[in-house]
């Protein structure tokens, strides 16, 4: 008799649960330091304390808000510029070399300049996150437009479609899978850059919680913030996949969906 493999989400829990149990046992049996490596039971207690006081929600919402705004701005800018340079040779020749040169600058290197230009408050943080999201989305859209099958464009021409109709009815649907993949990459980078942004100097946010944990010597606070980051990042990516799934159900790929 063939044994049924558990549901994918259960499969995904096997590794973290096993590690958690091993970690807990190792600390309880004195094999690891509970102060530097607080076990899952201590993390759960810290998370509960932070949640009950409302601090966790405040920090998580602040981080989520920054990621959402920065992601939206970076994704819109990356999509628009990618479409422009992908569709127009002159625009590509004019803009792409400069964009690629700016992309080569490590984004963290912008931090001092952003603080100088935009101040220590929200604008500089959102700009940094937006910058992190912008590049993968821009590159994804640009390369996807350049990679659209010429033969499909010819179908549109033979059937008398205007340039705009070809863009909307052929190019855009053809680009959609790469665009969504680039948005997912951009979202991941958005969560990466929000930490850098909140370390720049924030009074709330999960990045602030990390810094606070470090300054107070609370490894459990740091780990709780990291776990919340992981959960929020996974949830945001899952939401993006769920929203985009109906748009990509036509794909003829190995998985047929993302």
């Amino acid at each position: 008799m063939k044994l049924a493999w558990p549901a994918p989400w259960i499969t995904g829990l096997i590794l973290p649960l096993t590690l958690g149990v091993a970690w807990e046992l190792a600390v309880r049996h004195g094999m690891m330091s509970g102060r530097l490596m607080p076990p899952p039971s201590r993390l759960a207690a810290s998370a509960w304390t932070l949640a009950r006081s409302g601090d966790l929600a405040v920090h998580a919402l602040a981080t989520l808000g920054r990621v959402a705004i920065g992601f939206a701005c970076g994704a819109v800018a990356g999509t628009m510029l990618g479409m422009l340079t992908g569709a127009n040779v002159t625009a590509r020749r004019l803009l792409d070399p400069s964009v690629q040169a700016v992309r080569a600058i490590p984004s963290i290197a912008w931090v001092p300049l952003f603080i100088l230009w935009l101040g220590i408050f929200e604008t500089s943080k959102l700009t940094l996150i937006g910058l992190g999201v912008f590049f993968p989305v821009y590159l994804g859209v640009l390369s996807a437009i350049q990679g659209v099958d010429r033969k499909l464009i010819e179908v549109g021409r033979v059937f008398g479609l205007s340039v705009m109709s070809i863009a909307l009815r052929i190019t855009w649907p053809a680009v959609l899978p790469s665009w969504i993949a680039s948005l997912r990459t951009g979202l991941g980078l958005g969560f990466m850059f929000v930490v850098a942004a909140e370390l720049m100097g924030a009074s709330e946010g999960l990045g602030y919680l990390l810094l606070d944990g470090q300054q107070m010597g609370r490894a459990d606070t740091i780990l709780v913030a990291m776990i919340v980051f992981a959960l929020l990042g996974k949830a945001a990516d899952g939401l993006l996949v769920a929203v985009s799934r109906p748009l990509l159900c036509w794909q003829d790929t190995a998985r047929t969906r993302l």
Partner: protein, 263 residues
């Protein structure tokens, strides 16, 4: 009445390669003209020029006396690959070709054509769910939905197995009897040309030119067992061999062991 007139058509690419020279072909309303020839004789280039996908370097193409300068609403095409849009369902792919129809006409014609090409009930299937032959049926329906006066076929059956190809020949002739478009088709298959065409234009390469024009005297529907069918095939094969004679390596001229790819 001449529907499609190709006059002194020439095509030279930017790198100086001359693909076509002085092509003259006329096709009457409802006539099926097949273009045969060796590789590199410019068959597909010619079809692309008629479709308006490329610009000719010299000469003209006219439809009903009107000289073409690009794509034309009276001209439709079926390509070697089905080229269905993978994000559209089967029905939507067929409707895609009827952009000039009203929404109601488009819907009615889509339903009717799905039925005619044997895919009734497949309207909501994705292209990836169809076989190669079914996809090519959809491509034919898409090309015909807008009532084209001229249908261009660029080896549309070459990738299919013989049984599917034969059934699509029947389907094409069936649709042609109803709609009577002028058909200009490119093929590598002599038998296919004899089965489908009223006239066969044999082209020669380097640069592509018209070598011979052969009327097909085989009655439709073609009975392949008839001696005239075989005779016609031999005449076409012989014309193609003669068209390639100049390209053969020295020592393989007429009478030597040249293995014709057409038989």
């Amino acid at each position: 009445m001449t529907r499609l007139a190709i006059h002194q058509l020439g095509k030279t690419y930017a790198d100086g390669t001359e693909a076509l020279r002085d092509i003259n072909i006329q096709a009457d309303t409802g006539e099926i003209v097949a273009i045969l020839g060796g590789s590199g004789c410019g068959k597909t280039t010619l079809l692309r020029l008629v479709a308006g996908l490329d610009q000719a370097s010299s000469g003209t193409i006219s439809v009903g006396g009107q000289v073409l300068t690009g794509t034309h609403p009276a001209i439709s095409a079926v390509f070697q690959e089905p080229r269905l849009l993978p994000w559209l369902t089967t029905g939507a792919n067929i409707a895609f070709g009827g952009g000039r129809l009203t929404a109601r006409d488009r819907q009615a014609r889509t339903t009717a054509l799905l039925d005619r090409v044997g895919l009734a009930g497949y309207a909501s299937r994705w292209p990836r769910e169809l076989s190669g032959g079914q996809q090519q049926r959809v491509a034919i329906a898409r090309a015909l939905i807008g009532h084209p006066e001229i249908l261009l076929l660029d080896e549309p059956f070459s990738a299919l197995d013989p049984v599917t190809r034969a059934s699509l020949h029947e389907l094409l002739l069936d649709l042609w009897r109803d709609l009577r478009p002028t058909i200009l088709m490119v093929t590598h298959d002599v038998e296919e040309a004899v089965v489908l065409a009223d006239r066969i234009v044999v082209m020669r390469p380097k640069p592509g030119r018209v070598h011979d024009v052969l009327p097909v005297d085989v009655p439709r529907p073609s009975d392949k067992a008839l001696p005239i069918f075989d005779l016609m095939k031999r005449r076409v094969t012989s014309a193609i061999d003669r068209s390639l004679a100049d390209d053969r390596p020295p020592g393989l001229k007429s009478g030597s062991l040249w293995l014709s790819p057409w038989v």
